[in-house]
């Protein structure tokens, strides 16, 4: 129980970000955090878009026109990546928690898949959007 006592004493932890060097799974993990934060900040925009898309045919058309601007599209593609990365990295965590993935090799291979699939889907959907 000594361990637990010490654990509680040193929590919550504060991390020295600039000192940390990461393996591949570490990048998936930090990007999962970054993408989660982006999605949270984007929530009012996403809700506003849902609102406008459903309210009336006029607001729907206005929204479609607005989303057609190049800069807006870039932002959308950024959010799309954030979502896709968060989604697949999230599924990876769920798989790990359910013991569907094990060991270092499983962690590495799945990290590679998460990065690759979310980037590839972002490109495919981004090209379609453009």
């Amino acid at each position: 129980m000594v361990v637990e006592k010490d654990m509680n004493k040193t929590r919550p932890k504060h991390l020295a970000l600039h000192k940390i060097k990461l393996p591949l799974a570490g990048y998936v993990s930090i990007l999962h955090r970054v993408s989660g934060a982006i999605l949270f900040l984007a929530l009012p925009l996403l809700l506003a878009m849902l609102d406008q898309s459903l309210r009336s045919i006029e607001t729907f058309t206005n929204l479609a026109e607005y989303l057609d601007h190049a800069l807006v599209k870039l932002a959308l593609i950024g959010m799309l990546w954030a979502f896709l990365h968060h989604f697949f990295a999230g599924l990876r965590y769920l798989a790990i928690d359910l013991h569907l993935l094990h060991g270092l090799s499983g962690a590495r291979a799945s990290s590679r898949w998460v990065l690759a699939v979310s980037l590839a889907l972002t490109v495919v959907m981004g090209v379609k959007l453009w």
Partner: protein
């Protein structure tokens, strides 16, 4: 090993579980809507509003959004606890996030039921 029970006192395990359950709910909803979108020959205003016209879809959409907000709360709280040290700033951010999320809940109901 420490014997901790999820439904017992608040060990943090409860939030951990909630974050996973809400993640699973969102994953199912998003996959279903994405699958639906892929099956549509064209995505216009008519099919889009048709999708959200029934109470069933509205309810599941609200369930999705409530899961999302709860999930986001746990996630943002974890992030803030990791990087924000002063208790006062932390409290301020926590309260702002909670209030924003409560507003989003009200907004979500208004959007879905067209108030």
């Amino acid at each position: 090993m420490v014997n901790r029970i999820v439904t017992g006192a608040h060990y943090g395990l409860r939030d951990w579980l909630a974050q996973r359950v809400t993640a699973a709910v969102m994953a199912v909803y998003v996959s279903a809507v994405a699958g639906w979108a892929l099956l549509q020959p064209a995505l216009g205003y008519d099919v889009w509003t048709e999708l959200f016209s029934g109470n069933m879809m509205r309810s599941f959409s609200l369930l999705f959004l409530l899961s999302l907000f709860y999930h986001a709360w746990i996630g943002v709280r974890d992030i803030v606890m990791d990087y924000v040290k002063p208790a006062s700033v932390r409290l301020l951010i926590h309260v702002s996030v909670i209030l924003a999320l409560i507003l989003y809940v009200i907004w979500a109901v208004q959007i879905l039921w067209g108030l």
